[in-house]
Symmetry: C2
Subunit: 214 residues, 2 copies
Amino acid sequence: MKVFLVGANGQIGRKLVELLGSSSEHSVRAMIRNPEQANELEKLGAETVVANLEGSVSELAEAVKGSDAIIFSAGSGGSTGSDKTLLVDLDGAAKMVEAAEQAGVDRFVMVSALQAHNRENWNEKLRPYYVAKHYADKILESSSLNYTIVRPGGLLNEPGTGKVEASENLGRASIPREDVAQTVLAALTEEHTFKRSFDLISGDQTIQEALKNV
Amino acid sequence: MKVFLVGANGQIGRKLVELLGSSSEHSVRAMIRNPEQANELEKLGAETVVANLEGSVSELAEAVKGSDAIIFSAGSGGSTGSDKTLLVDLDGAAKMVEAAEQAGVDRFVMVSALQAHNRENWNEKLRPYYVAKHYADKILESSSLNYTIVRPGGLLNEPGTGKVEASENLGRASIPREDVAQTVLAALTEEHTFKRSFDLISGDQTIQEALKNV
């Protein structure tokens, strides 16, 4: 699959570039805001495309044209404030969904956050962020696309274990970013995850097993 | 109609309380966050109900139960920052829609903003606010409710003229808050506005005429 990656410079995104760049099954086109980011990502095996989540849908549709799938792992980050949460995490994601529909890219895997679908379980300190993720996910779910929404728990920088738990509703727990990236990669082609959304934390199943049961 | 008003302490909301409170056709229940706000609104002819847009859907459903219609004219205001824009203007509005569905209150009139449905025409300085309004409107439009979305232009404190222009797409222009309130009131029972969304600015038609042509 030709995979278009949004958020390649994030921590999960960087791992996805490495995995996709060294894969024999897939190739990766990384969306970057700034041409200066190209060199480093190309060394990891990615093609790069300059485009901006704060730009227009038609610009984004042009960027994704010809891809087979989109992975959205972009986030405005904790330091930029809720203006960017609205513009990037919500509107940026929704524009990407529209761009995918316009360009005929049917497969869309979203990296969301544990329990983003249940207001009752949102982390109080991160409520504005959860609002943005909640509605971005809803927009993807109500689109015409073949989506998968992966909602990982607290993200760790530890090495991955390859063992996870995936289910519609899980309690608060954590997971290494590396395992999130491996799960997103495996989900791309795993039909059991088509049109499904699920929480993801560390567990005791292999990623393949876990994805077959979501 | 028993009208449940969200945002009664806003500038348009206050005018709606006055209009509804002195109407022979309608009665008004004003939602307030703080019991201390009750006295002033009750003097204008409103019943008051204490509830909070940052509370749960079930709390809001309890508050709206028994009403015939909801008018949503709440806004977090320009001074509170985008955290509140996400929590109130977007999530608060969406929760109110869910509460209306749960409580069986079918009629819902939303006060939105000119061109909130067209990203290309958003005021650059207010983009985060427009993102919130855009998705709140979309959620209402995709609900099961009998909605009307009124998208006024730049709001003025001048006296109303009773003359407006209403259409799906209008250029940037302004309108007195009093005319917005009168239009919202007229829309409540005007069947031409059912399941419709429209821009609203000052013009040369009476409100009744304008609403018959949206």
